[in-house]
Amino acid sequence: MLTKQQAKIFFLVGTFVTFAIFIGLTIYSLQQVQTKLPEDVARGKHIWEKNNCMGCHTIMGEGAYYAPELTNVIERRGEPFVRGVLQTKKPWQPNGRKMVAYGMNEQETNDMIAFFKWVGNLDLNGFEKVNKKVSPLAVDHMKSNN
């Protein structure tokens, strides 16, 4: 039968080995990640963070599930629509769900757009496609609803 000492060794060795591999893989994969970003993208990211947009939306699939996934929002909706949403001072409520009216200025809006475009261009191993496609069935349904 397994002794307490053996169980302890199993714990220590397993932890050490997997931890070492984890650190190795982290270093390896982060070497390929872009760290120097255009300034407007970085500013956009901080506006995203400062307003806790993730408290309702998801981006790259992370956040809350109250409002739409925004990874491809520029492609899905087009830039003018998104600018409108960010700049409006009137509370806006598509499908009855309210969004905070941020009333962003021109500069902030540009930064947010730059951020969305940057995220939209990332290679996300296929996730970027999941939200993009609209099936023919759905198009019919949307038309018949309008």
């Binding site: 932890t15 997997t18 970085a42 949307m142």
Partner: protein
């Protein structure tokens, strides 16, 4: 209780009860917003409610763990706590940071990173507070007569949680790096070091409640935490599938995260076996049911419902949908909420001297809260699966789909009401025990 200073635990748990109440309240705000009653939007928009819900959850659990450590470590080390006054100071500091953070969330003062919303200035106070907590416990263990495995594992988990808080304090310009290191906190907490904390508390409860030999229980504790790290560390990869990093994580994350349920399964089998082997003479029946429930439901919520969406092929479609919320609720409930509620139920009679071991209200609290959470999880499951199918497979628009699945949120609210009734009864019990007293000291 065996040592007077164990009383500190009570106050941490009282804070937990308060925060749990706030958590549920803000949960209702979100639930009602989802069925169209969002009258509070102007003052408490969804993101505020969400952030408060998640942060009060994390802090009531942490405060619960801290209370557990202040209760367990003196008893395991066979000594009074080192400088108990500092422990009260630590509690007050924790409370103040909590109040400041929660207030800020209502005024757009936050970091906007799910689970890590506490602003960085306050992060430093959290860090100092936790260091103080760790020093008090370390000094207690070192001056104690005994150095038990249970105490070290519990301590190791808490210290690990403190260290892993740090990667969450770095600021990034890139959303990719931000996400990458956010998971070092969130994932390596709940699927890593927190399992050590849970394992430590569970081991203590099993030793006390079943009377099985400590050496046997602690041997299996090593097996459980061995499986945890073996699978959980590389399992972090299941959050790196779709965030713009190397494809290698699809394989590594897929394989290792699929092994994570083994740690939870081991925990279930361990608890059930020790219970079967034990004498079943302990009078605190409520503590036994909460303890066994934690061991079983953690496997369902984390293990089974985690496995359900952890392979890249499935996660591609379920990623960031209500399927995740289904899993998040049962995993947090089964593992961490239940173990905290179990240790409180175990310790209260010992701290206060009132031997309310087994009574109808206590049982009702247990059953209602569990029936409630299962109802909620079923509602999230139905909503989540429908969302994935309509939105991700058929390609319907987000808002349309949300309207389709609205009805499930009425079920959610029903479940939440049952859960809240159970929790209310639990808190009534907590209050009825009264305050901890030196008269409860066992000779």
């Amino acid at each position: 209780m065996k040592y007077k200073t164990q009383k500190v635990a009570y106050w941490f748990w009282a804070l937990s009860m308060l925060l749990l109440t706030i958590q549920l309240t803000y949960g209702f705000i979100m639930g009602f917003a989802r069925v169209g009653y969002d009258g509070l939007h102007q003052w408490i928009p969804f993101n505020t409610a969400h952030t408060v819900h998640l942060n009060t959850l994390v802090v009531w659990l942490l405060s619960g763990f801290m209370g557990a450590a202040y209760y367990i470590i003196p008893e395991e080390a066979e000594t009074e706590l080192w400088k108990p006054k500092l422990a009260y100071l630590q509690l007050i500091a924790l409370t103040l940071v909590g109040v400041a953070a929660l207030t800020g969330y209502h005024f757009n003062i936050w970091e906007g990173r799910k689970f890590l919303e506490i602003p960085r200035e306050l992060d430093w106070l959290v860090a100092i507070d936790v260091i103080l907590f760790l020093v008090i416990l370390l000094m207690t263990i070192l001056k104690g007569k005994k150095k038990s495995t249970t105490a070290w594992v519990l301590y190791g988990g808490l210290a690990g949680a403190a260290v892993l808080y740090l990667p969450g304090m770095i600021s990034f310009d890139s959303q990719v790096l931000d996400s990458f290191f956010r998971w070092w906190v969130v994932h390596l907490w709940v699927e890593g070091v927190w399992e050590l904390i849970m394992g430590g508390i569970l081991a203590f409860l099993l030793i006390k409640l079943t009377g099985v030999d400590r050496e046997v229980i602690e041997k299996w504790l090593y097996v459980v935490i061995g499986l945890t790290f073996l699978s959980g560390i590389l399992g972090t990869g299941h959050h790196y599938y779709y965030i713009g990093v190397n494809k290698i994580w699809l394989i590594v994350g897929g394989i290792f995260s699929s092994l994570e349920p083994l740690a939870f399964l081991a925990m279930t089998l361990w608890a059930l076996n020790m219970y079967r082997k034990g004498e079943k003479k302990h009078p605190n029946k409520l503590a036994i049911i909460w303890t066994l429930a934690a061991a079983i439901i953690s496997f369902l919520g984390a293990g089974v419902l985690g496995l359900a969406h952890t392979l890249p092929q499935t996660n591609l479609y379920t990623h960031g949908t209500l399927v995740t919320a289904m899993h998040g609720h049962l995993a947090f409930w089964g593992a961490y909420a239940s173990i905290v509620l179990a240790i409180i139920v175990y310790a209260m009679p010992n701290l206060t001297g009132r031997k309310l071991y087994d009574h109808p209200r206590g049982r009702l609290a247990f059953w209602l809260s569990n029936i409630g959470i299962f109802t909620m999880v079923s509602a999230f499951a139905a909503a989540g699966v429908a969302q994935v199918y309509l939105e991700r497979i058929l390609g319907y628009d987000f808002g349309q789909v949300q309207n389709e699945i609205k009805v499930h949120f009425w079920v959610l609210i029903t479940g939440a009401t049952i859960l809240s009734t159970g929790i209310t009864l639990y808190i009534i019990d907590f209050v009825k025990y009264g305050l901890p007293t030196d008269e409860a000291l066992e000779s």
